[in-house]
């Protein structure tokens, strides 16, 4: 089989010189590990359609995108229906070797700048460094044209500087949005200015008091007489450039709109507007006193009867939800980047502290408890890192790849783990970690702030579960209807009876271990079992609840955690397998990290799936729900004092 694959590989290489660049890097892995290379060669098998399939979207296709491979099935969404794309176990190498050298050379000044000078006055320096234009296409002045992976790599140095990171991050998100779904006119109008830092992009999405029945209080109305939109409302938590008042900004504003001719709730939609800060009617409100990221400036922004034209709408009016997918994807990925660099720094400090501190003659680093803490943090950071670049790689490598779920999961995992690491700091270092203006204190604050930035973690978890269920619901609908009406479909039910797979012993035929280094055999097995369990849990949930599954939020949170763990395991195994096969430094420890993550992840997934299987009467959900009724009735804690007498 191997020889045939090799033949296929050669065959492909001859037929598609366009892709030769991608292969040259991957063939190197071939000599080191047969498993990894077979994955690569199989992936290339899917390429013939690539040349014919490009450039047909309504989305503008730049030069980079023309090199992309055809779209694959979404990775994590398919986990929910128990199918896997094994070839994605080959960690994407989207920045080719020569480009990587160039990139690293280009990034040297950035790294040096941030390492050397601690007192940054931004503005001019930043513009010279080109920090604003990393992900702007090269056609525009100041644009560096980096793809997802490259621009994430390039933003690593500045994400260490927390006071700037937020601002740059949201700026890049706006650029991403414009590049992906902006019209040509909008791109020409804004991208140059954005790239040069004359205009700073900012998201203005969230509000202080969301309305009761809608998503946003900010509303826009189309006035047909003047052919203009009138925007009215207030947005909060808008990040503004610190120390640069009067800096021109470009707000991406989401507003509630009503479709013409469709009355009532059915016609409700949202629209994404681009509003410049010097537009008449736009007014910066007061700054928020935030818990973390206190150097960054967050403000409320008021829009009083702002008159906007049609060309300031991104995409189509009332279709904001469709385009916001791009928006949230970008902000989730770039937000994760912030979290990762913060987590890395926390880990570094924790290690330094445990090396330096001796208690009762024992170094803290030798205590088993500390060692476990450090290793856990290491595993988490490794997983975050792997997930981020795997997701970015998928975006860069395949055309129009659906990574909605992957990016959401990356953020979910990163931010949750970051917070865990930050709180571990409290227990290792103790009260010293909360001294005012100590690094540990500032970083704890930042971690907490990141936890709340944008969407809440609960909402994100629900989003992950719902997206997965949506995908699974479409695929499993026929089977679910049969299972829910057993008397009409006896054959189906008997089939289920004779099915011997169970949560304890899932049956899988994915053979993921063929695609990774043999050392990772058990780890691959863990992934396989976890995916099979997730599939069973999803199937059961849909069968048990029908479409009222969307009301089972407790089970959905579990689902979100399971999907997150599986993706983390997947990314780690893929990355460590690649590292070991090409012999990167400390790759053997990467293998160990991946194994640790998979072992722990598998057990957690098993527990969570078992809880879903047992149902709400066994897994304690029912008790909690009952209890909440009384809590609501008593408006809080309801038990009387423990020393109360009754007689």
């Amino acid at each position: 089989m191997r020889s045939s694959l090799l033949r296929l590989l050669n065959h492909q290489r001859i037929r598609h010189p366009l892709l030769a660049r991608g292969k040259s890097t991957k063939v190197t892995t071939h000599s080191t590990a047969s498993a990894a290379s077979s994955a690569n060669s199989q992936r290339e098998h899917a390429t013939p359609a690539a040349t014919g399939d490009k450039g047909n979207g309504d989305v503008q296709v730049d030069e980079q995108q023309q090199h992309k491979l055809p779209t694959r099935e979404p990775l994590v969404k398919n986990f929910f229906i128990g199918s896997v794309d094994k070839e994605l176990l080959a960690y994407p190498e989207v920045i080719f070797r020569e480009e990587m050298t160039n990139l690293q050379n280009a990034l040297l000044p950035l790294k040096n700048y941030f390492e050397e000078s601690k007192d940054h006055q931004q503005g001019q320096n930043f513009k010279q460094l080109g920090l604003y234009g990393l992900n702007v296409p090269t056609e525009y002045d100041g644009g560096r044209g980096y793809g997802w992976s490259a621009s994430l790599m390039a933003s690593e140095p500045d994400s260490e500087q927390t006071n700037l990171a937020l601002e740059l991050q949201t700026h890049r998100v706006v650029v991403d949005l414009l590049r992906d779904v902006g019209s040509t006119q909008q791109q020409e109008r804004y991208l140059s200015a954005l790239a040069q830092g004359d205009l700073i992009g900012t998201e203005a999405i969230y509000e202080y008091n969301p309305p009761e029945d809608d998503y946003f209080n900010t509303q826009a109305k189309f006035v047909s007489e003047t052919n203009r939109w009138t925007l009215q409302g207030e947005k909060a938590f808008v990040i503004c450039p610190a120390g640069a008042p009067g800096q021109r900004q470009l707000f991406v504003v989401l507003a509630q709109t009503q479709q013409p001719n469709v009355p009532g709730l059915m016609g409700r939609g949202s629209t994404i507007f681009l509003v410049e800060s010097d537009h008449p009617g736009v007014r910066l409100g007061k700054a928020h006193e935030t818990f973390g990221y206190r150097d960054a400036e967050m403000r409320s922004v008021h829009f009083d009867n702002v008159q906007l034209s049609d060309d300031q709408i991104i995409g189509l009016p009332n279709e904001g939800n469709r385009y916001s997918e791009h928006l949230v994807r970008a902000s989730r990925l770039r937000g994760s980047q912030l979290g990762i660099s913060l987590a890395k720094r926390l880990l570094q400090q924790m290690t330094q502290y445990s090396l330096d501190t001796t208690q009762c003659g024992t170094k803290i680093k030798d205590l088993e408890l500390t060692r476990a803490h450090l290793s856990r943090a290491m595993c988490s950071v490794y997983a975050m890192d792997s997930m981020l670049y795997l997701t970015a790689g998928l975006l860069d490598e395949f055309q129009g790849q659906d990574v909605t779920l992957e990016s959401a999961i990356t953020k979910y995992y990163t931010i949750k783990q970051l917070y865990t690491i930050a709180t571990q700091n409290l227990s290792i270092i103790g009260p010293k970690s909360l001294h005012k203006d100590q690094t540990a204190e500032l970083e704890f604050r930042n971690a907490a702030q990141l936890y709340t930035l944008g969407e809440s973690m609960d909402t994100l978890g629900m989003f992950i579960a719902l997206s997965g269920l949506q995908h699974a619901g479409q695929a499993l609908n026929a089977g679910v209807i049969k299972s829910r009406n057993p008397l009409f479909h006896p054959g189906h039910i008997f089939g289920k009876f004779f099915d011997s797979a169970s949560i304890e012993n899932p049956k899988t035929k994915m053979q993921l271990s063929d695609h990774v280094h043999p050392t990772l055999d058990p780890a691959a097995q863990c992934i396989e079992h976890s995916i099979a369990r997730l599939h069973m849990a999803v199937d059961l949930m849909l069968t048990r609840h029908g479409n009222s599954v969307v009301e089972r939020q407790n089970e959905m949170q579990r689902l979100a955690e399971i999907a997150t763990l599986i993706y983390a395991m997947w990314a780690c195994v893929a990355r460590s397998s690649r590292s070991y096969c090409i012999g990167l430094p400390l790759a053997d420890h990467e293998l160990l990290t991946a194994s640790a993550i998979c072992t722990e992840g598998k057990e957690r997934v098993k527990t969570l799936c078992t809880e879903i299987f047992e149902g709400n009467f066994v897994n304690n959900d029912n008790n909690l729900l009952r209890l909440s009724n009384q809590v609501a009735k008593s408006k809080g804690y309801f038990a009387v004092h423990p020393l109360t007498f009754n007689f």
């Binding site: 916001s324 269920l469 949506q470 609908n477 029908g546 479409n547 009754n646 007689f647």
Partner: protein
């Protein structure tokens, strides 16, 4: 003063003696045991001056000042008067009977004082036969009746009472068993009500009306209770108070209410707060059938899982259908939508009119645009009466 009562009792002994316990129904069953003394007592009425007076008297009926203090004093007098404490059973029965007159029926201390009348040690059985065959049945039954009365009035005994009963009847005594059963159940029942009333329940009708409206408003946790005075309005005829309960949700329903459809003030309905009846009125409209039909989930296919929606911002909707946030509120019942409830001091049409005006001027301007009709002949009270039976229980307070 205590002495005075004492001497008064002594002087009037014959007269009091005539109310002897043959008339006391609680005592009839023990006539065999007390036969001697009561027949002697009956004989004694004829020539009270000549024969020796048995120590049965009913000072409770004759007491002029009916307070707890007098009551306890009388018990004390009985204890001190005679070392034998003759006829203490009859005395206790009499004392129990008159408790409500003195307003002490909820007072544990008084019950303890009565138990204390019993001699200690004498009634404790000394062998198993005595223990099993109810040693001193009349005395034991008397204390069981006392405990029964406590239970009826919801007075919970305490550990001191257990000690007293132990001293009187020993740990095999039937009153002890009764006591233990009470101590098992009564603490469990004591706080079982989901709407606990303050102890003691206030006597003011306004306060009780507040309690009543508050209790009914617990269906919606956001309900707000407001007390208006009709004097806030210029041309109100009745000078009285209005307790009004309404939640923001009801205000919202009212805002969304069709202007063409009338609102009805219905009532009076009754709610009982312990032993007081409160009349209340509702502001309601006919059910919005169209809306309710929209929410009817029976027509929807629960099995179809191919259309699960994912919101990009904000929380996921809690319901599978009408994902735009339409939910049936608890106020939208099948027979009508209830917008507010109230109790007024006078329950008159005028006070209700004031209520509507006050609601209008306090955040519900919409009421001015909708016709409001009085419907005092509501069918609901008739139905309620059908269920509850005719109101034979006298209404102690009917919104005076």
């Amino acid at each position: 003063m205590l002495r005075k009562v004492h001497s008064l009792c002594r002087q009037r002994a014959p007269a009091i003696f005539s109310r002897v316990y043959s008339t006391d129904e609680a005592n009839t069953n023990s006539s065999s045991g007390a036969g001697n003394s009561s027949s002697r007592g009956a004989g004694g009425t004829k020539n009270a001056t000549t024969s020796r007076l048995p120590a049965i008297r009913n000072p409770f009926a004759a007491a002029q000042e009916k307070t707890k203090n007098t009551y306890l004093t009388m018990v004390e007098i009985f204890q001190e008067r005679d070392v034998h404490r003759r006829n203490h059973v009859e005395f206790i029965y009499a004392a129990l009977k008159h408790m409500p007159d003195f307003g002490v029926e909820h007072d544990l201390e008084v019950y303890k004082a009565l138990i204390d009348v019993m001699p200690k040690g004498k009634f404790i059985p000394t062998n198993i036969f005595q223990a099993e065959f109810m040693h001193y049945p009349k005395q034991q039954q008397c204390i069981i009746d006392l405990l029964e009365q406590m239970e009826d009035f919801g007075v919970m005994p305490d550990y001191e009472m257990e000690a007293m009963l132990l001293n009187v009847f020993g740990n095999k005594g039937h009153p002890l068993r009764k006591y233990w059963r009470m101590m098992y159940w009564m603490p469990k029942f004591k706080n079982l009500s989901p709407w606990p009333l303050p102890d003691p329940v206030p006597d003011d009708t306004l306060e009780i009306a507040k309690l009543a409206v508050e209790r009914m408003c617990t269906v919606d946790l956001r309900s707000q209770l407001r007390v208006y005075e009709t004097s806030e309005l210029k041309d109100a005829l009745d000078e009285t108070w209005i307790v009004s309960g309404m939640s923001p949700e009801q205000s919202k329903l009212l805002r969304e209410h069709n202007r063409q459809k009338a609102l009805y003030i219905e009532g009076p309905f009754h709610i009982w707060i312990r032993n007081r009846r409160i009349n209340y009125f509702t502001l309601r409209a006919d059910a919005d059938d169209e809306f309710l039909a929209q929410l009817d989930e029976r027509q929807l296919d629960e099995d179809d899982v191919s259309h699960i929606e994912v919101p990009f911002f904000g929380r996921a909707p809690p319901r599978r259908h009408n994902q735009l946030g339409k939910l049936r509120s608890v106020h939208q019942q099948d027979d009508g939508t209830i917008f507010a409830i109230c109790a007024t001091g006078t329950s008159t049409k005028d006070s209700l009119l004031s209520w509507i005006r006050l609601l209008e001027s306090n955040g519900n301007p919409i009421i001015g645009e909708i016709p409001v009709l009085f419907r005092f002949t509501s069918t609901v009270p008739a139905k309620a009466q059908e269920i509850e039976g005719p109101a034979t229980v006298p209404a102690t307070s009917d919104n005076a």
